[in-house]
């Protein structure tokens, strides 16, 4: 399983990028995207998904 970013809601603050323990989030062209192959849902690293916890906009980093 992986998380994804709802691009239309994203403020492009980039906070999720530097909190992601798996290096799964990148700025591609105009939007931030999560690479599903790299996303671990933060399992074994943290109790909660880091991207969803830091994101200022509710329901923007969500399970795919």
């Amino acid at each position: 399983m992986a998380f994804k970013i709802i691009a239309s809601q994203c403020t492009q603050c980039g906070a999720c990028v530097f909190e992601c323990p798996s290096g799964a989030i990148k700025f591609e062209g105009e939007i931030y995207v999560i690479d599903p192959d790299k996303c671990t849902e933060c399992k074994e690293a943290f109790d909660t998904q880091q991207c969803a916890s830091v994101c200022p906009v509710p329901k923007t980093c969500v399970p795919d």
């Binding site: 603050c13 909660t48 880091q50 916890s53 830091v54 906009v57």
Partner: protein, 493 residues
Amino acid sequence: MPEPMISLESLTSTTSFDQLLATAKSGGCASSSCGSSAKPNDMDSAIWEKIKDHPCFSEEAHHYFARMHVAVAPACNIQCNYCNRKYDCANESRPGVVSEKLTPEQALRKVMVVANEVPQLSVLGIAGPGDACYDWKRTKATFEQVAREIPDIKLCVSTNGLALPDHVAELADMNVDHVTITINMVDPGVGARIYPWIFYDHRRYTGIEAARILHERQMLGLEMLTARGILTKINSVMIPGVNDEHLIEVNKWVKERGAFLHNVMPLISDPAHGAYYGLTGQRGPNAMELKALQDRLEGGAKLMRHCRQCRADAVGLLGADRGQEFTLDQIPGEVVYDASKREAYREVVARERGDHVAAKSAATEMVKAAGSGNSLLVAVATKGGGRVNEHFGHSKEFQIYEASPGGISFVGHRKVEQYCRGGWGEDATLDDVIAALEGIDIVLCAKIGECPKDQLTGAGIRATDAYGYDYIETAISALYTAEFGVEPLAAMA
């Protein structure tokens, strides 16, 4: 009074800069204190050296020097009820608002262009639009690059304080000697009504627990900065019914921990901004409520009264944002920094300033000597240089001074809609200007038409251009003695 021999505003707006500088240099100096610094008597010299060119940390300096913010730090680690980071409007002035985010490389080019064009520039700040200490890599990269190209520019950051303790040592290493921390509470119970959540140590905290962690980190950060001799300014947002009374307690706490300045700012709340407070109808304080609270804080940590609640991409003198002149599309790919304008400007300011100080202390003596128990609230139209030099109709804000038995003090500013746009004024705007000038006795400006003057008079506010181009304090002392002193009322129309 004659026009000043050295016109600072012409120095910064003209194309034939060299010629003006020559004129300025050949001009004599009106006072014996020529060239001296403007250090207030009660201030330590080392501290004065740090703030004398900083428009936010010194009320005196804000007449002469400009700052710019570069919006390189969009990421934030807390959510405030007065902030909505999805919203942006080019016409709006509000902390956290920006039109474009910059990479550190883009920021460097922008700083160099502004330094070339705006000779008043003395400070580079990073105030978000998120949090400069949380988005640390970008903040640090920007500072390092700029300091390499323009070594004399002062660096400062604004932060909510949560990540601050992690970076105090690096801030000190980079010679950042001005830090602003936004502190809205010292009681987590109050904090829980301001902050819905924080992100700390890899998880999200909410409620009292979140506010308690934030509070502890803010106090720790402040103490660490004080221990290193870094000057701190505390920004507090005054939220009526939430923390207005509580800010008296906040003022005590930050003073005890060595805060240099306390800046109490009004909540800006509008449903159209989409922030929680706007949507729930939480109102901001009006100008007189803000002043009343600030007056109650006198005697605690020193108050800042000239904050403009600037955007995170503001450029120029406080109160006159030129940010829209320096958007990315107007900045060339290659920029070379040219120090000459900034150096020349500083030379002129150094002399003008000594003159201003002398005028100021003479004015204060005059007011004190008038021996009157009365006070006068004066609104001044100015575009910098410490003089009454703006037309009434062109003003986007008025600076408010109070003359009282204690002397002359700056008490704040009031923003207004510019009344005159290209030759004609509109009545609706004038009504708004009059409303914004509530409680003011007299308006001082360089020029005012008969019509707005009469309408102001009708509203019980007198206005005069009799003191155009005088130093602000000189004009006010003349007014005050005319009103309450022994001398007859002369200059008022």
